[in-house]
């Protein structure tokens, strides 16, 4: 194998990088058939890559073997107040012919990122075993999963005894505070240890009122014995930060944006009912695919969603230095 030469990524690499990205997307689509086939065409992949490359603070590396581009990794910081001193490598932000080359590319690119004080690194990676292993051997662990599934034409919703599903109303917003804060509470605890600040009651109340008023979310509240104990929220996929471009299915897709059940009501079947009710709603609305995401360190979520048919087809990997 000839030597790998590494240089800073530059405009002149975009054409060849788009070829690599299109080829990687084809491999990705073999693993996740809901992805859009048009990005297997370099001419379609290139604008996505170039758009990303023009983002503020973007930098990265290109790898050559015998004068031919064989890989690239580019990344840029996202808001520090949410992600800390970070760099994100988005899904179009990397592609390699040989998985192991991703390690050299990261090593070359990350030198600058760390020098600039950005020590928390995030990478969105297709679930190709060799590629995931290469990132794993760079000290990255999995933090989040992006899940994909088809929407069936017919879904049966079986409600557990004593349960019902309703839409929220502003009049009962005070009863929804606990449900509204439950996911943050859960993810603050071990083993997620989310560093996001917990919302105050007032912030939760305001968010409920704004959400109900806006009417853009299909909100399904789960009640048990007359008390709200769960909430599932479905929106059009355009509302999601990640499911666009290479990561968006090639058909009408909705995004399961939020789902939580209060601790004392978990494991009772209500979450399954709310998921099925959401799928039934999606089918009625003409959606053919549903996407969602979850923290893999959230043990409950990481076991629940794959059982609901969601395939973890994009992995968010994370490394914090030190």
């Amino acid at each position: 194998v000839s030597r790998l030469d590494l240089v800073p990524f530059a405009d002149e690499h975009l054409d060849a990088a788009a070829e690599l990205l299109a080829a990687r997307h084809a491999r990705h689509r073999a693993l996740e058939p809901l992805l859009d086939p048009r990005f297997e065409d370099p001419a379609e992949a290139r604008p996505r890559l170039e758009h990303l490359w023009r983002d503020d603070g973007m930098s990265g590396s290109a790898a050559f073997r015998a004068g031919r581009l064989v890989g690239y990794v580019i990344g840029a910081p996202q808001p520090r107040e949410i992600w800390g001193p970070n760099v994100w490598v988005e899904l179009p932000g990397h592609a390699v012919e040989v998985a192991e080359d991703a390690r050299d590319l990261y090593a070359h690119a990350a030198a600058r990122w760390v020098e600039e004080g950005n020590t928390r690194h995030y990478a969105l990676v297709p679930p190709e075993p060799a590629l995931v292993d290469a990132w794993f051997r760079l000290g990255f662990g999995q933090q989040q999963a992006h899940g994909f599934r088809e929407v069936p034409r017919e879904v049966e919703v079986q409600l557990p005894e004593g349960c019902e599903i309703r839409k929220p109303e502003a009049a009962i917003v005070d009863e929804l505070i606990e449900v509204g804060g439950a996911l943050s509470q859960h993810q603050h605890a071990s083993p997620v240890f989310s560093s996001r600040p917990l919302p105050t009651e007032e912030e939760i109340r305001r968010e409920w009122l704004e959400t109900i008023d806006a009417g853009e979310e299909e909100l399904l509240l789960g009640f048990r014995d007359g008390q709200p104990v769960a909430c599932w929220s479905y929106v059009r996929v355009e509302r999601s930060r990640h499911f666009h471009g290479l990561e968006r299915p090639d058909r009408r897709t909705c995004f399961l944006m939020f789902a939580v059940t209060l601790p004392w009501s978990r494991g009772t079947g209500l979450g399954i009912a709310l998921t099925n009710a959401g799928l039934a709603w999606a089918a009625a609305e003409g959606y053919e695919a549903m996407v969602t995401d979850w923290r893999v360190t959230n043990l409950l979520a990481s076991r629940f969603w794959p059982r609901r048919g969601f395939r973890a087809s994009v992995l968010r990997l994370y490394r914090s230095i030190p």
Binding site: Y106, R137, G139, S190, P191, F193, V296
Partner: protein
């Protein structure tokens, strides 16, 4: 809904934990026959448990213990040792055990976590990966027989005390090479005098030093160490504890020549097994040692919160 009912680990759990460890090690030995028999699993678990500051959890199907470890005044990691955990059946159990144990570690201010995990168990590694742990180091082993000499354009000889200043310099070069990307080691670098003092004060009976010379200069060294046996180090084996090549000479065959030399030396001197370790984020090392026939036995996994 808790899948695993975990309670704080205490002395009363030692026997059951030893049985779980013995079963794990038996599975591990099926995959890697060079691992030694574990004659006394109770002592192995107890050693982890008696470490200062150790804490952990126990469940019917598994246990997890860690203790704070500090290297050269660097950061303190809450580290699960090689005998610090075992689970019976579903590898997913380890995620529940970690969730239960790590709460206290983080409450106590320990946000850097490490765990040595048997590398044969890919499902177990995946369970840790899905706890956001990445690979940071490897422990490995190989047989010593059958190594052909490799001509790296160097003369290899046994090292002497007169070489210590040079080998201390090379050791420091090795440590320094862990500081840039992608290792980003935050272990503070020792001074040459500190490293040299360790070389001078070391017990020579425990070590075998080999140096490689090119053009009359020492350009590489390997230090073999008679490491005390444990559940990954067989009795009568020898550990390749240090290997370093002058930065300008890396990739020119110095390491290959030294490695083939010491493997042959070990074979001829009655050491049938050689162990070693490397930083996984050291790209060169992580590619070099597997090509020299070393098979990974444990991966050291690491997670920093946040």
């Amino acid at each position: 809904v808790a899948r695993v009912e975990a309670v704080p680990f205490s002395d009363e759990h030692l026997d059951a934990a030893a049985a779980l460890l013995a079963a794990r090690h038996a599975r591990h030995r099926e995959a890697e026959p060079l691992l030694p028999e574990l004659a006394d699993p109770l002592s192995a678990v107890e050693r982890e448990w008696r470490e200062e500051g150790a804490s952990g959890v126990f469940a019917r199907t598994g246990y997890l213990i860690a203790s704070p470890q500090t290297i050269f005044d660097g950061p303190t990691w809450m580290r699960v040792g090689i005998a610090g955990h075992a689970a019976d059946g579903d590898p997913e159990t380890v995620r529940d055990l970690y969730a239960a144990a790590a709460k206290r570690w983080v409450d106590d201010g320990h946000t850097m976590h490490a765990a040595f995990v048997p590398s044969f168990d890919t499902e177990l590694l995946d369970a840790w990966f899905r706890l956001s742990f990445g690979a940071s180091a490897a422990l490995a082993t190989r047989e010593t027989a059958g190594e052909e000499p490799y001509d790296g354009g160097v003369a290899i000889r046994n090292g002497t005390r007169e070489d210590y200043a040079e080998t201390a310099r090379l050791e420091l070069e090795m440590s320094a090479s862990m500081q840039p990307s992608p290792s980003f080691s935050d272990v503070p670098l020792q001074t040459h005098d500190e490293v040299l003092a360790e070389w001078v004060e070391g017990d020579e009976d425990e070590y075998e030093l080999f140096v490689a010379e090119r053009g009359g200069r020492i350009v590489g060294h390997i230090l073999l160490y008679r490491r005390p046996p444990d559940l990954r180090v067989p009795e009568g084996s020898i550990d390749l504890a240090q290997a370093s090549t002058e930065p300008e000479a890396r990739g020119t065959g110095v390491g290959r020549a030294l490695t083939s030399h010491v493997i042959r030396w070990a074979d001829e001197h009655g050491y049938p097994v050689m162990t070693t370790d490397w930083r996984m984020t050291n790209l060169r090392a992580s590619r070099f040692w597997p090509r020299r026939g070393f098979r990974t036995t444990f991966l050291r996994l690491y997670r920093s919160i946040p």
